[in-house]
Amino acid sequence: MARRRNLPIVVLALAVIAVHLLAAAAGKPQYLTQLTMAGYYSLVIVGLTLLMGYTGQISLGHAGFFAIGGYTSGLLCTYNLHASSGRALVSLLHAAGLLVAGQDLYGAEILVVRPWVACVVALLVTIAIAYLVGKPVLKLRGHYLAMATLGFGTIVYKVVLGSSLVGAADGISDIPAFPLFAGLAVTGKSALRTQNYYLAWGLVLGAMALLTNLIHSRVGRALRAIHGAEDAADAMGVDTARYKLSMFVLSAGLAALGGVFLTHYNGGIGPSEASIMKSVRYVAIVAVGGMANLWGALIMGVLLNFLSLRGSFGSFDDAVFGLILLAIMLFAPDGLLRAEFVRRLPGLRRVFGQKAEP
């Protein structure tokens, strides 16, 4: 069984290589840039799929977690501690090798947190916030849960938009590259485009491997049981509150991971990453993928994000996502990539016909 489960992962890995070769052959290496970005957004989407599709808990605030990750890492990597370098704490951090000194564009001395430290802190901060928010929020159901997560997302958006510390409406820019190892760094420099493409998709592959294992495990079964009938899952000994919270935190962590890497890749982050429209877009993609369909969500996520990033939808970007949401939820609530939908296609007229019945 395990081998059968690994097959899609292998196919995905081959597809990643094939796309690279195709893009190179077609002389369109810039496609890799958008695919890299789409890869990082996919991390949010696969995490959200597990939370919404498998565990049945809606979140209209996941852009908030993406933004908290990206903003925290970006802020730590750009906030100049030089002025307070005499302080005991700063000296201690410096001595521990957690800070890095350098010069900015204009030659002024700067002292900032090392990117890998910033990344770890950003993930930990997001996880802590997800835990604190999730604990009370996940007690709610239905509309109340939707409203509470929407509220959380709005708060994150308004706070980053209103705080001059993180650049208010401008966001944070000039975020340094995130050096990993052996000359590889998360950066938008075109020299490292291919490497970054493989890095992003390596992360997606890793996440997919872990998450497919999860859904086919005891935990995955418990999560689906919570979705199916929460009281019955509880009666079977599933600590539903703990499982929901763990899943919420896990998906928030994945969103933050995507946020951190994309922020370093783009070299900046702005408040629009935290906006409600972004959260709605993530939900739309999960829905189009088929809710409880990890691979469907990944495919639709890459496709739609890629097209959107390429500007294929022009000024109708939001409209396209709105209409997709509407169409999918009306005609194929189980997603496009499901056999039942394809079978039902010829019967669409019957679906319309039902309107006339009393």
């Binding site: 938009l161 209103g162 208010a168 401008d170």
Partner: protein
């Protein structure tokens, strides 16, 4: 005007933020103190509480820096709560729509903008006047709405690019850039452009004219004594 204590309100967008920062930087040089400094939402529906805060701070005038519809709400609410001090706006006010939206509240608002808005009343000697009138008339004939400065910027950008390509005589990127940097005396809607390798903005201070709203129309602000 002898103003030393002002209020500053701006919208929570990049435009509002940039203006806010510049005003904060420039104010001390003129001996002006910002006693109330508020950022409002670009989607705001009513800003009575914000202008009340200005009123409570006893400002002698206030600057309202925004490019969104909410800027009209600010001036309207200010007049409603009886805050009758002079109001200064940014060039983001350069669309008659906002003045119309604020109705009588917009009367007397002072703002800098290019001469496009007051093209009709310019003296015949003004060298921008023909360009402005031509743009204004063709825009209004085509779109059936008042021309604003914003569309003019796009017009100028295309005009400059066209001149540069013409001057370079080729579509080579480097040559066009060099030509663009050497353009002199190009008359656009925003002003007369004089580029150099160091100046990529091309406009001087004289490109802006202080304007105000009188009887629902933009007119040149004539009280020269008021120009600080």
């Amino acid at each position: 005007m002898g103003i030393s204590k002002i209020g500053l309100v701006s919208s929570n967008t990049g435009f509002g933020k940039a203006g806010k920062e510049q005003v904060e930087k420039a104010a001390p040089g003129f001996g002006i103190q910002i006693v109330a400094n508020e950022v409002y939402e670009k989607e705001a529906t009513d800003l009575t509480a914000v202008v009340t805060k200005l009123k409570a701070a006893n400002v002698q005038a206030f600057i309202n820096w925004s490019i969104e519809p909410a800027q009209a709400i600010v001036i309207k609410n200010a007049r409603q709560v009886g805050l009758s001090v002079p109001i200064f706006q940014s060039h983001g006010f350069g669309n008659i729509q906002y003045a119309k939206a604020a109705g009588p509240a917009a009367e007397g608002v002072i703002f800098p903008a290019s001469r496009l808005l007051v093209a009709d009343s310019l003296p015949a000697s003004d060298k921008q006047k023909p360009v402005l009138l031509k743009y204004k008339q063709s825009y209004e004939a085509r779109y059936h709405e008042d021309a604003s400065t914003f569309g003019g910027h796009a017009h100028d950008a295309l005009l400059l690019l066209g001149k540069a390509v013409e001057k370079a005589g080729a579509l080579d990127k480097e040559k066009v850039r060099a030509a663009l940097e050497s353009l002199q005396g190009v008359v656009g809607t925003a002003g007369v452009f004089n580029f150099s390798a160091r100046d990529h903005g091309g406009l001087g201070m004289d490109a802006f004219e202080m304007q105000t709203v009188k009887n629902g129309k933009f007119v040149v602000y004539s009280d020269t004594a008021a120009k600080k």
